[in-house]
Amino acid sequence: MILEDIISEFNLELVNEGNLKVKINAGVIGDLLSEVMRNGKENCIWITHQTHQNIIAVAEVIGAKAILIPENLNYLPETLERAKDMRINLLKTELSGFEITGKIYKILKDNGSI
């Protein structure tokens, strides 16, 4: 599924824009970046409460195409700066991590993306 379709389907807020035409065919959740480095898959959407700028580096390492923070949390200013430099898609939602993860999982599963 194309990232911009996920964004419009769930009305996600686009905080930093990279390439929105990328295909998403995996997902990972995690706030411990060491765990995400171990378990993250390429072309995934990553749902996390972690807002430190190292999320940008980790997204690069694993090949994540978008980072999504729930609960209307905010990215730290230095994280935004770095995301701009790296052109990483940063998203947010007011939904809980549990709820948005369930919704994204279902739509990716239903349309055969995962």
């Binding site: 411990l32 970046l33 480095m37 807002t51 430190h52 700028q53 730290l76 230095e78």
Partner: protein, 242 residues
């Protein structure tokens, strides 16, 4: 130069997760047995028990370094040691007022006990919850800490709440005075990540965790300056526990 027996990361009855017996009385008994003579008090997110500890140990050969273990918004544990007690206390208040969980149930999460200079229980701190995160990021915390004469180091970097566990890699824009690691493997990993200064603590929460010293420091005396020099001159020698 003398060789001192040290632990630069220790909790008292103030930390909700520490054993309720970890008072200055028990500390004295345990430290005399284990021959620790230079240690830091580093409770979670508070500095309230440092002055009582320093008073209590003032007539002994045990030197106390004021410190605090802060939990940042990223849930990274960072230890800050201070040269001056009043600055440590000021910083402790600054951190307490930044904690994001105020109310808590001590029956479930543990009592936060403040001592007096005689080592007796003075009062129970009901809020904030000292096991909480601060609202400050690790960058902001380190920046604030460096306004004082401090030694700043992330605690147990490969363990739960450790810098590398939480953040995957060392943050590019933060310079620590040292990092805390727990065994030979970890020190090698840390060197691979670019760290070169090390410090060690028991992270004592219970009496049995004070039965040894985690490092020895070669220094001319037990001043804060001498400790900082020893860190940078690689005169802090780990004593691994297996």
């Amino acid at each position: 130069m003398a060789l001192f027996n040290c632990s630069f990361h220790n909790h008292t009855v103030l930390s909700p997760c520490a054993d309720i017996s970890m008072s200055s009385d028990l500390y004295k008994e345990l430290l005399l047995k284990s021959n620790i003579n230079w240690l830091a008090i580093t409770d979670h997110n508070s500095t309230r028990n440092i002055r009582p500890f320093i008073n209590y140990f003032s007539n002994t050969d045990i030197k106390i370094v004021p410190g605090i273990e802060v939990q940042t918004i990223e849930e990274v544990h960072v230890i800050i040691l201070f040269n001056k007690l009043d600055e440590a206390e000021k910083f402790g208040k600054f951190i307490e007022s930044s904690l994001i969980i105020n109310k808590y149930d001590p029956e479930k999460f543990g009592y936060q006990i403040c001592l007096n200079g005689e080592g007796d229980f003075e009062y129970i701190l009901e809020n904030p919850y000292l096991g909480s995160s601060s609202k400050y990021s690790i960058n902001k915390l380190v920046m604030e800490a460096k306004k004082y004469e401090t030694i700043v180091f992330p605690a147990h970097i490969f363990r739960a709440f450790g810098l590398i566990t939480q953040l995957g890699l060392p943050p590019k824009d933060i310079e620590f005075d040292a990092v805390e690691v727990k065994n030979e493997k970890e020190i090698e990993f840390a060197k691979d990540l670019g760290f070169s200064n090390f410090i060690f603590g028991n992270d004592a929460h219970t009496p049995d965790e004070l039965n040894h010293f985690s490092c020895q420091v070669r220094a001319k005396n037990r001043s804060f300056i001498a400790l900082k020099e020893a860190i940078y001159n690689k005169k802090v020698y780990p004593i691994w526990q297996h």
